[in-house]
Amino acid sequence: MAYEPLLLRNIHREDSRSIDVYLAHGGYQGLRRALKETTPEAMVEEVKNSGLRGRGGAGFSTGMKWSFLPKGLEKPRYLCVNADESEPGTFKDRLLIEKDPHLVLEGTILSAWAIQSRTAFFYIRGEFYAGERIFRRAIEEARAHGFLGTNILGSGFDLEVIPYRGAGAYICGEETALLESLEGKRGLPRIKPPFPAIVGLYGCPTIINNVETLANVTLIAERGAAWYASIGRPKNTGPKLFCLSGHVKRPGVFEAPLGTPLLTLLNEHAGGMLHRDRPLKACVPGGSSMKVLPAERCDVLMDFDSLAAAGTMLGSAGGMVMDSSTCMVAALLNLAEFYEHESCGQCTPCREGTGWFTKILRRLEGGQGRAEDPDLLLDVARKVEGNTICPFGEAIAWPVQSYVTEFRSEFDAHVARKGCPLAVAARS
């Protein structure tokens, strides 16, 4: 069955990022139709009915999120586009921004209109210098065509989209840290509640949506909720961008319906394992902060509910594939170092726990492990999990728990053999 790409429909076209190419292939038709034929309330309903779930990681219903906004319009409302894509193993939003910025921008305009926000902020990761330049140009093009500014397409709706490049902190992808950063402060997550829909940017009701989520809103506006909901699986509707990296022949971003089997993505889209003689050992299906699946449990469907049932999460769909040459202690150490570096330092369990993980793992990998270390890792993870201000705590606690639990013998072997058995084997 051939799948026609929807999100990636333009990326291979020459000059795909220009508004002319975008317009030539049906671009901004969804916006035109929505503004002319329907209402913001109907647009919210349409998105609800489409079943679209947020593509940033949590998988929460986008239409539902929008409907959490307070009814009155006493205060301005803001839409913030979360383009701070920083999850290791995840690089899908960058592709959309750099290759098809208007698909994202059209979805941004549609969503801002749906929630009646007259100012939208595009918070883009600090390292995405090219993406920011490209997106700024897209904004200028859209303005020149009357898709931005005042009285857009004669609808009476005004909108400005303001791009803002962060400083490259992973934590600023957490929505409340993003708001703090956007307000010019240190990127520290806020205590919730209040949720941003009630008290968000500058104290005003705010919706934060992921880049890919907004690209999907464009599709829904173009072809309707019923069509959209027919893609994928029940409650897991629509097309999805899957990133595959690690020990595969062809790493990259692949589009497929939600619910596509992981092994199909791995073997067909990504071309299979990198080395014929090194079979699959483990895969993190949803980005570095999600739980790892050992090879024997990798026969799963890639959607929110199937992966939750498998004990992990779809997350940002950043699949990281590890073959038999991978040392799971070293892999976890690598992750732990990242999370130690990126912990904002605000709350106790994460600030102290992330560094502790790293120190224990470094000892284990370096041959100074103690028999109690694997259990200590699990217990420290238990003390971090659920006790932090933001989900960053889980983002490292879950990998620690799953790596140690799923590959316990490997951790114990590091203790028993006073070092990494794989390294020892390679040396001998």
């Binding site: 605000q346 709350c347 106790t348 600030r351 224990i360 109690e372 200590l376 006790n387 201000i389 989900p391």
Partner: protein, 555 residues
């Protein structure tokens, strides 16, 4: 990173009967005990009402909520995750548990986390004995750590401000100090720098922690990270005894504790009073006890034996009786030779209400002094928080007693009168007009009688015929009336220095030589008498003033 999946909440056990909540109130249950609180109360505060302590570091009632220490995590029924008590609003019917195995285990974990990079240098830490880490380790810790790694190191003695030293290793990043500077002093010198385990409190470049309220950051620091430099390594806090009192540094009357040990005040810290100073005090007041020890005290009574002051013979030691006799004799001689107009007194608004009352009745009444002058002591301007430009604690008290508002002109006229020979005798209590540059020593030397009662050896005393040592701040009991009209008790924390007596005792003894018959055994006797004469103080007593003082009618 993504929002975590939530496990299903556990089934609820048998409910506790909720008391009725009025409008604007909610009823909830904490550890099986019902409580009704105003809407908007947090779970932590609701528990507090029941006497249930929810341990915390970052929460401070005078600051915004940060929710970062995670020590106050408690179980809230129907909520799968533990919730921080400091930021969770109590809701109708909420069922909170603060002592379950899950809460206990989490607290153990938080304590372990807080200590893994903490230097545990308690033996030499000034905070030891009043440290939340120590306290909670005892109450909620496991007593051991599983951390065997090298700790993160930071600078241990960084002069973060003129009077405050920062130890980066002891810091638990609760950000109370940052929030204080942002929200209370509104000076914003402090911020959190770096990230993760390397996160560290610091002053912004070129903005040291030098605001006039910097000492409060030391008070609210729950650990030994911020220390008050004048107090560093001075005393183990468990030897200090706190006496509730009132600051005498300005007319605000901040409620304070005087911490004394071995006959000396070592530290002044603010004592909560919602209506006066909340949790705070200024650095000037905090250092006001240093004046007691910085200058040489007048240790014993002095009497000049030379027949004429112009001879300039130095004063020599005497007994209090001798000094008082000499003072009484000289004062009497002036009135008999020149009449009462030739006699004046300068009394200080730094004196207590009791001192001032006896100054008025003894000097103004029995001795026959024609005028009592209260010099002003003003500096700078009133600020928006606590500091008043009137740097005396009791100007309102002096006014209440009919001594008038402090007036700079009074001393100018007095000076003219001395020079013109119209004024021949002067009693000065608690002031040093020569040292303050308000009266010339030469002019004073022309007087026939100069009687000085003060705590320090001063240029004014150099010219005195008789000088009597006065107990200083913190050395005797009395009442001050703040600029806002609040009568508050200042209390004795240490014994008077040397042979000093409270000024009112000196005045009483002088009064004896002019026929004073009342016993006035203690300061409260005087206050009771003042209260019976001054309508604004009617019905008040030391007991009714209590620790927090009382706003007085018509003041």
């Amino acid at each position: 990173m993504a929002e975590p999946a939530q496990p299903a909440p556990a089934a609820a056990p048998a409910p506790v009967e909720l008391p009725p909540a009025g409008p604007g109130e909610v009823a909830l249950v904490v550890d099986g005990r019902p409580v009704v609180v105003p809407k908007g109360t947090t779970v932590l505060q609701a528990a507090e009402r029941l006497g249930i302590v929810v341990p915390h570091y970052c929460y401070h009632p005078g600051l915004s909520i940060a929710g970062n220490c995670r020590m106050c995590l408690v179980e809230v029924e129907k909520t799968p995750k533990l919730q921080i008590g400091c930021a969770t609003t109590a809701a109708q019917g909420m069922i909170v548990r603060t002592t379950t195995p899950r809460v206990t285990s989490t607290r153990n974990g938080i304590m372990e986390f807080l200590l893994i990079n903490h230097p545990l240098d308690c033996p030499i830490c000034d905070q030891a004995g009043e440290c939340r880490l120590q306290q909670y380790s005892a109450e909620y810790g496991t007593g051991e750590s599983r951390f065997v790694e090298e700790k993160i190191h930071h600078d241990k003695r960084q002069p973060i401000g003129a009077r405050v030293t920062f130890d980066g290793e002891r810091c638990i990043k609760c950000t109370r100090c940052i929030r204080f500077c942002d929200e209370v002093s509104k000076t914003g010198e402090l911020g959190l720098f770096e990230r993760g385990g390397h996160a560290i409190i610091g002053a912004f470049p070129g903005r040291p922690l030098d605001n006039p309220y910097s000492g409060n950051t030391v008070d609210i620091c729950p650990v030994g990270a911020l220390t008050w430099r004048p107090f560093r390594f001075r005393a183990r806090v468990w030897f200090l005894k706190d006496t509730p009192s009132v600051c005498a540094g300005c007319a605000r009357g901040c409620n304070v504790n005087l911490a004394a040990y071995d006959g000396r005040i070592h530290r002044i810290t603010p004592r909560f009073n919602e209506e006066v100073n909340s949790y705070w005090m200024c650095d000037i007041g905090r250092q006001s006890h240093e004046a007691l020890y910085a200058r040489a005290r007048l240790e014993r009574p002095l009497v000049r034996q030379a027949p004429t002051p112009a001879a300039g013979a130095p004063a020599g030691p005497a007994t209090a009786g001798e000094a008082l006799d000499r003072a009484a004799g000289l004062l009497r001689a002036v009135t008999s030779r020149f009449g009462p107009d030739a006699l004046a007194a300068v009394v200080s608004a730094r004196l207590t209400l009791e001192d001032l009352y006896l100054a008025k009745t003894v000097l103004g009444g029995l001795v026959g002094v024609s005028r009592l002058i209260v010099p002003p002591h003003e500096e700078g301007e009133d600020d928006d928080l606590l500091i008043r430009k009137d740097r005396t604690p009791n100007a309102r008290g002096a006014e209440l007693l009919g001594l008038g508002a402090p007036d700079a002109q009074g001393l100018v006229r007095l000076s003219d009168d001395v020079r013109a020979g119209r004024l021949r005798g002067l009693v000065i209590v608690g002031e040093d007009p020569v040292g303050d540059g308000l009266l010339g020593e030469e002019a004073l030397r022309s007087l026939e009688a100069l009687v000085v009662v003060d705590s320090w050896k001063s240029p004014t005393i150099q010219a005195a015929h008789a000088a009597l040592p006065a107990a200083g701040y913190g050395e005797y009991d009395g009442v001050y009336v703040s600029f806002a009209g609040r009568a508050q008790r200042a209390r004795q924390a240490v014994r008077p220095h040397g042979l000093a007596d409270p000024p009112w005792v000196v005045l009483r003894e002088l009064g004896r030589r002019f026929g004073l018959s009342q016993a006035y055994a203690q300061a409260s006797d005087l206050f009771d008498e003042v209260a019976s004469h001054v309508p604004a103080l009617a019905g008040l007593s030391y007991r009714s003033l209590g620790d927090g003082g009382r706003s007085i009618a018509g003041a």
